[in-house]
Structure formats: C-alpha cells, structure tokens
C-alpha cells in the first residue's frame, strides 16, 4: 500500500463534511438554506482544487477514517479516477445550483437546497470511498436524495417516476449489498486494496460479481434495466433531471468501473472476459435502443432522457475492449473517462436548456417549438452545442471521447463495436437535429410565453461551452486521464 501522505488539509473529509453539514444546517434553519446551498456548492469547487493539487503530488491519497485503517475501519481514497468524477460533480453541481436558484420559487427553494446538498455530499462520499459497505450507505443516501428531488415538483408524472425510481434504486442497492455480503465472508474485508490481494476466483467471487454487476447496472440504467430512467428523468424538474442524468447514473457506473478494474478483471476465466463481453453487448443494445427511442419521442425532455440511455451504452463499450486484449487497455479507459466528463456537461446543459424551453412555452412538445431561436437564442445555442457534443461531432468533448473509443476498438479489430458506435452517432445526430430544426420553424399562431431568467439561460450555455472546451483542450486534460487509468490496471495485473 502506498504511504499515507497527509496534505495540509484533509480535503477528502472536508469535501464530504461540508455539503452534509450544509444540508443539516439548511434543514434546521430554512430561511438560510439558499445562502448555505450556494456557498457550500461553490466552496466544494475550492476544496476540489485543493484535493487536485494534493493528488497531483501523491497520486493516491488514503485517509483512514477514525484512525483505524483497513480492514477494521473505513478508508477514503482519492486518486485521479475519483478526481475525474468529483470534477464533473463540482462543475455540473455549481451550474445546476445557480440555475436552480432562479428556477424554483422561493417557498419551493427552501426544500430544494437541503436535498441537493444531501445529494452532493452523497456523491462526493461515494467517489471518495474505498469500502464496499460504506459505498452501499452512500448509494442509499444518494438514491433517496435523488428520489426526493425527482418527486419534488409533485405532479403525477413526477410522483410516478419517483416511485419507480425508488423501487429500482432500492432493489439495485440491496442486490449490490448481497454481493458485498458474499465478498466479505469470502475475504474478511470490505476494503478495495485488501480485496485486490485476497480475492480468488471461485463460485463466491463469480456470484458476487453477478450480483453487484446486476445491482449497479440497474442503478446505472444499463439496457435492459433502463425502464425506470426515462419516466424519472423526463418528469423531474429540469435542474434535477440534469443532476440525475449527468451525475447520479455515473455514480453507480463509477463503482462498477472500480470493481472491474481492481477486483474482477484480474481474475481469469468467467469473472473476467466473459462478463466484460456481456456488458459490452448490453452497451451496444443500449446505444441502438436508446437512440432509436430518442428519435421517436415527441417531447424534448423524454428525448434527452432516452439519449442518456444511449450514451450510458457508450460507457459500457470499454468493458470488452479491456478484456479482448487480455490486458487493460488504457486507451479505452481514457476514452470512457473523457466521455463521462463530456456527457455530464453536455447532458446537464441539454436538460437545463429543455427546462428553459418548458418555462418559456409551458410545454416541451417538439413539433410545437416554434420561433424559440429568436426569443431564446442562448438556450438554443446551449442545446445545439451540447447536442453536437452528444452526437460526437467535432470539435467537442464528445467527439474526442468517441474518437478515442473508436480508436481503441479499431486497434483491437472490434468491428462490431465500431459499427454500433458509428450507427449510434448517426442516430444521435438525427435526434439532436430533429429538435434543433424545430427551433427555427415559424410560429403558426402566437402563444403565451413566460420570460426565462437570464441566469437560467447563461448556466445552460456555460455548461455547453465547457463541453466544447473539453474538445478544444485535450492536451491539457489527457495527462490527468492517463494518471487515472494508467496505474490502476497496471497494478492490477500481476
């Protein structure tokens, strides 16, 4: 194990404690909830910068909670991989928080802020945890916060979506926990590093992998477990949809990646290659099915939600690329991380833009979106930019991510993956332009329109521009991602 290098401040602990304390304070004193919410969300960005410099120095930070250390205690861990997800969380979180500040009425906002801070704290805690059971608790905290936020607007569709989401997320976490139970009794530890040393191939490991994989795939909404995502993500308030699609589904994906890279891929046989192939097939099916469904949707938010189903599929394409060569393929993982960042930013921008359209016209039916290009130019620009990134067209972050993935697939001769990626890209371009095209149609009849606050337009555009910048500055970011994917798999292979 790497030596513990304590930085000046325990950044990991602060990143977790700050939002959770903010949530409790906001619950205690609702009039201050807004100020607390905005300040703690912004403060998270500063803490993240501190953590970033510390990780740049030490590569992997470990923090023994309670001073006990594994296996008796819980350990936090920060490395480049967690940093990628934490960065997505902080950036999208700040954008959404600013957006939500204008989106919700004052009375509603008081309820929103503590729930959002709970979600933020749970996400940070999840990305920093190195303990399987602790991950379960963070998953539940995140899941319940996400459900509460989904139901927040209280409409029938939102309540129904939230209920479906609650059942799916509870089922997913419990199935994951069952896998944890098996691993614990097989190895006597819950800590990732110790598990890496102790886990051996066998029926227990195989079953645990199946259970944890299934539970997390359900929470990530991997095809065919995606049934709960479109109703929940399309009916939640716009800022919540952005959080759910951009961050919450990524959290369970992150655990899956961790489990895979550190525990199961090194095991030979069924635990390794076979499961990787299965995940890849499901990813391909998700791309095709999600894109096709997105193309058919009559409403913007549903379209964007199905697009999430499809884009999740891309993330899973890396699993077979890892195993086909028998060795970890850093290129494929680099691509996945790039996609995670790009999708988080672009998808959040799309949902926020969709929220603006909804606010503006009172509906989000695609055929009736007329003339918004003149009235909401920033929103239209945000949607279009984000859409270009989602479709994987240059010069956006989505393009780089998909290009890297394509390259990895080509190098390994995986033509099936290449074909699906290209087809998915075409379909994505199709559904994006289906919406964008309607922006410019002339109005058949005048209709009522509500003003959209400038902050709501600008936040959507800012996130979209960030997704664009991600494509323009690969040289700056690539070393980071290499840090994230480089040492992990290399260590894992004996």
């Amino acid at each position: 194990m790497s030596p513990v290098l304590l930085p000046d401040l325990p950044w990991e602990a602060l990143l977790i404690l700050l939002p959770l304390t903010g949530a409790a304070a906001g619950a205690l004193w609702p009039p201050a909830a807004r100020a607390i919410g905005l300040l703690t969300t912004a403060g998270g960005l500063l803490l993240l910068a501190g953590l970033g410099t510390a990780v740049a120095d030490a590569q992997t930070l470990r923090h023994a909670v309670g001073g006990w250390g594994a296996p008796l205690g819980i350990e936090l861990r920060a490395d480049a991989l967690s940093l990628v997800f934490l960065t997505a969380t902080a950036l999208v979180g700040l954008g959404v928080a600013v957006y939500a500040d204008s989106y919700f009425e004052r009375s509603q906002a008081r309820g929103f802020w503590p729930l959002w801070l709970f979600l933020l704290g749970a996400l940070n805690a999840l990305f920093l945890s190195a303990d399987l059971f602790n991950l379960y608790v963070t998953l539940e905290l995140m899941g319940l916060a996400a459900v509460a936020l989904t139901a927040f607007s209280g409409g029938r569709a939102a309540l129904s979506g939230a209920m479906r989401y609650l059942l799916a997320t509870l089922l997913g976490s419990l199935v994951y926990l069952l896998g944890v139970a098996l691993l614990y009794h097989a190895t006597g530890t819950l800590d990732f590093s110790l598990l890496t040393q102790r886990l051996e191939a066998g029926p227990a490991a195989r079953t645990a992998l199946g259970l944890m994989g299934a539970g997390l795939a359900l929470k990530t909404a991997l095809f065919p477990f995606h049934f709960w995502l479109p109703p929940a993500h399309s009916s939640a308030p716009a800022p919540v949809s952005a959080l759910l699609s951009a961050l919450v589904v990524k959290a369970s994906f992150y655990i899956l990646v961790r489990l895979w890279l550190e525990l199961f891929a090194p095991l030979s046989g069924l635990e390794g290659a076979g499961t990787g192939e299965v995940l890849g097939w499901l990813g391909m099916a998700a791309i095709l099915w999600g894109s096709w469904q997105a193309l058919r949707q009559p409403r913007v938010k549903l379209l964007v939600a199905y697009s999430t189903v499809a884009q999740i599929g891309y993330l899973f394409l890396a699993f077979p690329l890892l195993t086909a060569a028998g060795l970890p393929d850093p290129a494929a993982w680099r691509a996945v991380l790039w996609l995670v960042l790009a999708h988080a930013l672009a998808k959040a921008a799309m949902f926020l833009a969709a929220g603006n359209l909804l606010r503006f016209g009172g509906h989000d039916r695609i055929p009736d979106l007329d003339c918004v290009a003149q009235r909401l130019p920033l929103t239209v620009a945000a949607f279009a930019l984000a859409g270009i990134s989602i479709a994987g067209l240059p010069p956006t972050g989505g393009f780089i991510g998909k290009w890297l993935l394509l390259e990895a697939a080509l190098l390994q001769g995986r033509w099936d993956l290449v074909a699906v990626m290209l087809l998915g890209g075409l379909l994505a371009a199709g559904y994006v332009f289906k919406v964008v095209g309607h922006f410019f149609t002339p109005a058949a009849a005048g209709h009522a329109a509500r003003p959209v606050p400038a902050a709501m337009e600008w936040t959507a555009l800012t996130l979209a521009i960030l997704a664009l910048l991600l494509g323009l500055a690969p040289a700056w970011l690539l070393p980071w991602l290499d840090l994230a994917v480089g040492p992990g798999p290399a260590e894992a292979v004996p």
């Binding site: 059971f133 608790v137 539940e140 319940l144 459900v147 509460a148 139901a151 607007s153 209280g154 409409g155 029938r156 569709a157 939102a158 309540l159 129904s160 979506g161 939230a162 209920m163 479906r164 609650l166 059942l167 509870l170 089922l171 419990l174 926990l177 069952l178 139970a181 098996l182 614990y184 009794h185 479109p230 109703p231 399309s234 009916s235 009559p298 409403r299 938010k301 549903l302 909804l358 509906h363 989000d364 039916r365």
Partner: protein, 106 residues
C-alpha cells in the same frame, strides 16, 4: 449443516421471494413489503454466513445489519408517503405500466 446455514439459505429464499413479489405485485404497498422482505433476506445472508466461528460471532456484520435496518425503515417511510401522494394524485396505488405518453408536465 450448521444452524447459521439454515438461516443463510432461508435468506436466499427470501431474496428470491422478494424479487418475485416486486416483479409480480402491482400494488405499491405490496411492492414495498417485497423490498423489505428482500432486504431481510440479504441481512440474513450477511449474518448467517458468519456462521459458527470459534472466536464468537462477528460483530461487523451485526453492525452492518443494524445500519441496513435503519436505512430500510427510512426508505419504507419515504416510499409510503410517496405512494399516498401518488394515489391522491392519480387515484390508483399502482404504477402505470404503459410507457409515459405525451401530456402536460406537472
């Protein structure tokens, strides 16, 4: 087989029953019961697998199960409130099984 083994296997059976109930039952209250039973099954496996050790029972799974029970009651309480609110809004204590259709957003 040891006594703990009985309970671990009963836990597996409860997990299967819970999954089945979740899939088959349409009523939301019943689905929440199914989730609770599924959870109890998982907890039984977690402790039951600890088995008869010479050093006495392992307190770590016990602590984990207590945590799990509190999480379960929190989730159940939230689920019940959500179910009641949904029933007030839609008139039915079930989820619509059809895909979401076009309609005014809430």
């Amino acid at each position: 087989m040891s006594a703990a083994g009985f309970y671990a296997l009963a836990g597996v059976a409860l997990v299967v029953l819970g999954l089945y109930g979740l899939a088959v039952q349409a009523h939301l209250l019943r689905k929440l019961l199914a989730v609770n039973i599924l959870g109890s099954g998982v907890f039984l496996v977690l402790v039951g697998l600890g088995g008869p050790a010479d050093a006495g029972p392992d307190p770590v799974p016990h602590a984990m199960v207590i945590t799990g029970i509190v999480v379960a009651v929190s989730a159940t309480a939230l689920g019940l409130v959500l179910m009641l609110k949904l029933t007030t809004t839609s008139g039915r204590p079930t989820l619509e099984d059809d895909a979401p259709r076009e309609g005014p957003e809430a």
